[in-house]
């Protein structure tokens, strides 16, 4: 399951997607909108994606995981649009026979997603807004 959606992310469908009898470990990652960033109180975020390319690049991340860890079971969903503080912006689930590979692959997937997937975040705070184009 790899997708860009406009509504709240439910984690359980991702978990179900990567569960199978040979997988003893399922590691999940959930990214949540922070209410405080770069010394400011964040009111809300706007996420924008180049959808067709973003899905393709998320597929590439999954392919890289497959090659590095021989893990087939990875699910990734990113939400776009208007997100309030505390809402879920991204979720990843990785299923593997053992936990070490699952933890490593999950961390790799979120790192790579932040590097190569064409999705952008605009922070809106009291009195201003900005596209975030530097890596903190």
């Amino acid at each position: 399951m790899i997708d860009i959606i406009d509504t709240d992310i439910a984690l359980e469908p991702l978990v179900q997607d990567v569960r199978k009898n040979s997988n003893g470990a399922v590691v999940t990652f959930l990214g949540v909108v922070r209410g405080f960033s770069r010394g400011r109180n964040v009111l809300y975020l706007e996420y924008e994606a180049y959808r067709e390319m973003a899905v393709r690049k998320m597929q590439q991340v999954a392919d890289e995981v497959r090659e590095k860890w021989t893990i087939d079971d990875i699910a990734m969903v990113h939400r776009v649009g208007h997100l309030e503080v505390g809402e879920r912006s991204v979720a990843i689930a990785v299923g593997a026979p053992h936990r070490k590979a699952a933890f490593e692959a999950c961390e790799y997937a979120i790192d790579r997603l932040k590097e190569i997937v064409p999705i952008w975040k605009k922070e809106v705070w009291e009195g201003g807004e900005a596209w975030i184009d530097d890596r903190p």
Partner: protein, 82 residues
């Protein structure tokens, strides 16, 4: 040749539109096209060093030649995740 160009995030704000279809001379490269936009929209120069270019949904080097029907996008530094 006719191509489609897409703009996102900070670059979309500078250009003022998400998408443009335009007629270009044959032989033009992806980097040439970005330079054209930089000349028309000077604030775009700020992104000259960190913008990636995609053609038909794949990142390409600026010297890539464009072809009829290509979909080009200028990709400012991405900030997905959380």
């Amino acid at each position: 040749m006719k191509v489609k160009t897409k703009f996102f995030a900070a670059i979309k704000d500078i250009i003022g539109t998400p998408e443009v279809e335009l007629e270009l001379p044959d032989g033009i490269t992806a980097g040439d096209l970005f330079q054209r936009y930089c000349q028309q929209h000077t604030p775009l120069s700020r992104y000259a060093n960190n913008t990636m270019i995609s053609v038909n949904l794949e990142f390409v080097p600026p010297e890539t030649r464009l072809h009829e029907g290509d979909e080009i996008a200028f990709i400012p530094p991405v900030s997905g995740g959380y």
